[in-house]
């Protein structure tokens, strides 16, 4: 009964979404407030209905109702509760429902929190949001219905891939989706602005909190995914440049560019068309990320072709949504008048440089991800693109971006004083140079790259601190006054400094874990030891243990220096009998300086165990850095300016859209 109610709720949600996507647009053009307010009720109603549907599916999973085909395929009664719940979105149909649910949450949030938005604008934003919802609800209902029944019901389910039974991964998709779908608001705001033919400072300010939420969620989501890969895949890697990762990384890069260009629109009333384009592009890349990866077109063309109905539906949806947006852009964008002009050396130019580099980075990642597909289509030579391509193209784009970052955030609007800024940054620069020199001295010339990386990391962290110090006039006024200034500092300034310092920590982690990594692959009998860096690692014992739904072979490792124990680490190989699948649980000892990462492999015929031992210096800073960056986004989100109504400048109206109706 409950699954049928869920199904019904989805049908009602689709009806509401269709209403929300059409009538308010028409009413907004006619200036009819009743019809426009309907958008708000529609968004709330859609949220209630999709919540019911999602709740129904979750209930089916928790209660292990195997008469529901989706539950039977993806769950099992022996699974711990948390993985029954995460199983809801661990499959195609359920993850789509989660996607639609988050979309409905964002719609309701705009309806409820957007009190400062003018009614016609709000109606248009919600209408676009409703149209997206209608498209995807139709997709769920017609091609990927999670509520289909099985008759007769099987006695137990087929389980969930054990590699997915992990707390990090349980949280990863919802986080990522929060980011992907959050960008739909940027898209809707951009479309509403194009319909009205008006982009101004107030628009940029309305847009900002939504982009910030989505961007921060994406940051956390990507970091979680990378962390999960690190501690489960078993060879200490944290980023693989595989299409699935690229698909989440591209919207992040685009959203990062969008965050920065929206500031220019807000402060200086220029770069408008570009910002609109970025808003559309961010969401377009999100769609590409969620769906084409789920459907497999990026991992391999082959899986996509296996279900043509879904493939055609998704493609049609993408072409209509994104194609429609770009067509609208082509029509309206040239009418947007650029505002203030600026000198080549200015904050605007700095942000423009940021945008150019980030957009190019999106382009290179997109090209690398889709290139095999393109070449194949035109019948060209068959090639495949791996990490070497990305390392060779992406890193050279990021280095100038990061080098310029501290300078850019100190430049003044309109016309900046470059010598003055460099003067203020000279201590940070000297310290970074000194750190690089010191690292070179300690590590030797073969680690020149690592030394430069450490210098860059310090440059970014100190640059962010200098930015803060400048704002509170540290050491130039009395300390008490500086403190007062710090308290009065807008949260957004604090957020910027945090986010930028986080990038510095990220660079620190990447440098350490890439350039200074040590690894040892050996076959050890129990009791034997091998050298890893400055320690000897001994395989102390191997035994079997019984877990809740698996059996584990546990290897106990002990690291020794001069015969003294330094640490003990246990590593497991788990076997899940229901799925017939093994997984690895590496033993990891984390410290701020280095991770020790030991993996127990298979037993050879002579009784020795294959072991893989890694020492990954500073690797933990990769995720801490990303977390600090994401936190910067949240701090910036708490800025008062974003909550209090934006000062509404005199409207410049073009003779289109609303202007026509008035």
């Amino acid at each position: 009964m409950i699954p049928e109610l869920g199904h019904l709720a989805l049908v009602l949600a689709l009806a509401l979404a269709l209403l929300q996507g059409t009538l308010p647009l028409w009413s907004a053009a006619r200036g009819d407030p009743v019809g426009m307010r309907l958008a708000v009720s529609g968004a709330v109603g859609q949220f209630v209905m999709v919540t019911l549907a999602f709740g129904a599916l979750t209930w089916a999973y928790v209660a292990s109702d195997f008469s529901v085909a989706n539950v039977a395929t993806n769950s099992h009664s022996a699974k711990p509760l948390i993985y029954k719940i995460s199983g809801v979105w661990g499959n195609h149909e359920g993850s789509l429902l989660l996607w639609v649910w988050i979309l409905a949450i964002f719609g309701a949030a705009v309806a409820g929190l957007g009190a400062n938005l003018p009614l016609p604008f709000k109606a248009r934003v919600l209408a676009v949001q409703g149209l997206i919802g209608a498209g995807f609800l139709a997709f769920v209902l017609f091609t990927s219905n999670p509520f289909l029944r099985l008759d007769p019901a099987p006695s137990d389910g087929n389980g969930l891939n054990p590699i997915l039974q992990d707390p990090g991964l349980a949280m990863h998709p919802p986080m990522l989706y929060l980011g992907y779908v959050g960008l739909s608001t940027a898209f809707s705001f951009a479309m509403a602005a194009l319909i009205e033919g008006r982009v101004d400072a107030a628009w940029a300010r309305w847009l900002r909190p939504w982009v910030l939420v989505a961007w921060a969620a994406l940051t956390f989501g990507i970091a979680l995914g990378s962390w999960w890969a690190y501690y489960t895949l078993g060879w200490g890697g944290w980023w693989f440049w595989d299409p699935v990762e690229n698909a989440s990384f591209m919207p992040w890069l685009a959203a990062t560019a969008l965050l920065h260009s929206a500031v220019v629109v807000e402060k200086r009333d220029t770069l408008k068309a570009w910002t609109i384009l970025l808003a559309i592009l961010s969401f377009a890349l999100s769609l590409l990320g969620t769906f084409l990866v789920r459907s497999g077109v990026l991992t391999s063309v082959h899986a996509f072709a296996s279900d043509p109905t879904r493939g055609v539906f998704i493609l049609a949806l993408l072409v209509v949504a994104i194609g429609g947006a770009f067509a609208m852009f082509a029509w309206r964008a040239p009418m947007l008048r650029p505002g203030g002009s600026f000198a080549p050396i200015s904050r605007e130019s700095g942000l423009l440089l940021n945008n150019v580099l980030l957009a190019t980075a999106v382009g290179t990642v997109l090209l690398g991800t889709l290139y095999p597909l393109f070449l194949d289509t035109v019948g060209g030579p068959k090639i495949s693109v791996g990490p070497p391509y990305f390392d060779a193209t992406f890193v050279p784009l990021m280095v100038p971006l990061l080098l310029a970052m501290p300078v850019g955030s100190l430049l003044a609007w309109k016309r900046g004083d470059l010598p003055g800024v460099l003067q203020r940054l000279r201590l940070a620069f000297l310290a970074a140079l000194l750190a690089a020199g010191l690292a070179l001295l300690l590590l030797g010339w073969q680690h020149l790259g690592a030394a430069l990386g450490f210098g860059l990391a310090l440059w970014l962290v100190l640059g962010a601190l200098v930015d803060l110090a400048e704002r509170i006039a540290l050491f130039r006024v009395a300390p008490a006054q500086s403190l007062r200034r710090l308290r009065g500092l807008p949260r957004s300034a604090l957020g910027v400094a945090l986010a930028h310092a986080g990038v510095g920590l990220l660079v620190l982690g990447i440098t350490g874990a890439t350039a200074l990594r040590e690894e040892r692959i050996a076959a050890l009998a129990v009791g034997e030891a091998t050298a890893l860096g400055s320690v000897q690692v001994r395989l102390v014992e191997v035994h079997q243990e019984q877990g809740p739904n698996y059996v584990a072979t546990v290897g106990e490792f002990q690291a020794e220096r001069d015969g003294e124990e330094v640490h003990r680490i246990r590593s497991e190989k788990r076997f899940f009998p229901v799925e017939g699948m093994p997984t690895t649980k590496p033993g990891i000892l984390t410290s701020p300086w280095a991770d020790h990462y030991y993996v127990l492999g298979d037993q050879a015929a002579d009784g020795r165990w294959a072991v893989r031992l890694y020492r990954e210096p500073l690797v933990v800073w990769i995720w801490w850095g990303a977390a600090v960056t994401g936190l910067g986004g949240l701090v910036s989100l708490s800025d008062r300016r974003l909550r209090v109504g934006a000062p509404t400048p005199a409207r410049r109206r073009l003779p289109v859209g609303e202007g026509m109706a008035a």
Partner: protein, 189 residues
């Protein structure tokens, strides 16, 4: 003044054309997806089908004894040659299928494509080793000779060392049943 305004008009004229660029690019991309969707990749023709395997000689992964050379494929046994890499996600997906084939007594050999040896070893260590021999193709040269389109890719070789079938993309039990096993059976003759 007049000149400046004329320049601005010209710039805006250029802009207009540029504004269509995203739409055009997107439509091209959509077209590419569309073409790829209609295509049945199992039927991608290979110039090599029916020909002897290309000449190649790959070293083993460090710590293992058997590499892979063209001569190893002419030992009178039909075989599967599977091109894989640890960085390739579909390879992880098809891996259980390969393990299954090995359990059925089918001879599977691997070409490890553009991979770091340690990661490749970790990959088979963690998931199990379906390969009788593995040749390490670090720079991808041998894969070019084989006309490899991407990883994973699987070739069926008959007992004389001729390529009977080329299958790009991950293997599934259905594909093994419908295409690989029949091709292998044909290769017995």
């Amino acid at each position: 003044m007049a000149q400046a305004s004329a320049m601005r008009t010209r710039a805006r004229g250029g802009w207009r054309w540029l504004a269509f660029l995203p739409l055009v690019l997107m439509l091209v991309l959509g077209g590419v997806f569309w073409l790829n969707m209609g295509k049945n990749p199992a039927e991608l023709p290979s110039a090599l089908v029916g020909k002897p395997v290309p000449d190649f000689d790959l070293p083993p992964l460090p710590g293992r004894t058997d590499g892979l050379a063209a001569a190893d494929l002419r030992d009178g046994q039909p075989k599967l040659v599977n091109v894989f890499a640890s960085w390739c996600v579909p390879c992880r997906i098809e891996h259980p299928v390969l393990m299954d084939l090995q359990r059925q007594g089918i001879s599977v050999v691997g070409i490890n494509y553009k991979d770091e040896p340690a990661k490749a070893l970790a990959f088979i260590d963690q998931l199990g080793d379906p390969y009788a021999r593995i040749g390490a193709d670090r720079d991808g040269r041998a894969a070019i000779d084989w006309g490899v389109y991407g990883v994973p890719e699987t070739f069926v070789i008959d007992r004389e060392g001729r390529i009977v079938l080329r299958f790009p993309g991950p293997l599934s039990p259905e594909i093994v049943r419908d295409r690989i096993l029949p091709a292998l059976a044909g290769g017995e003759e």
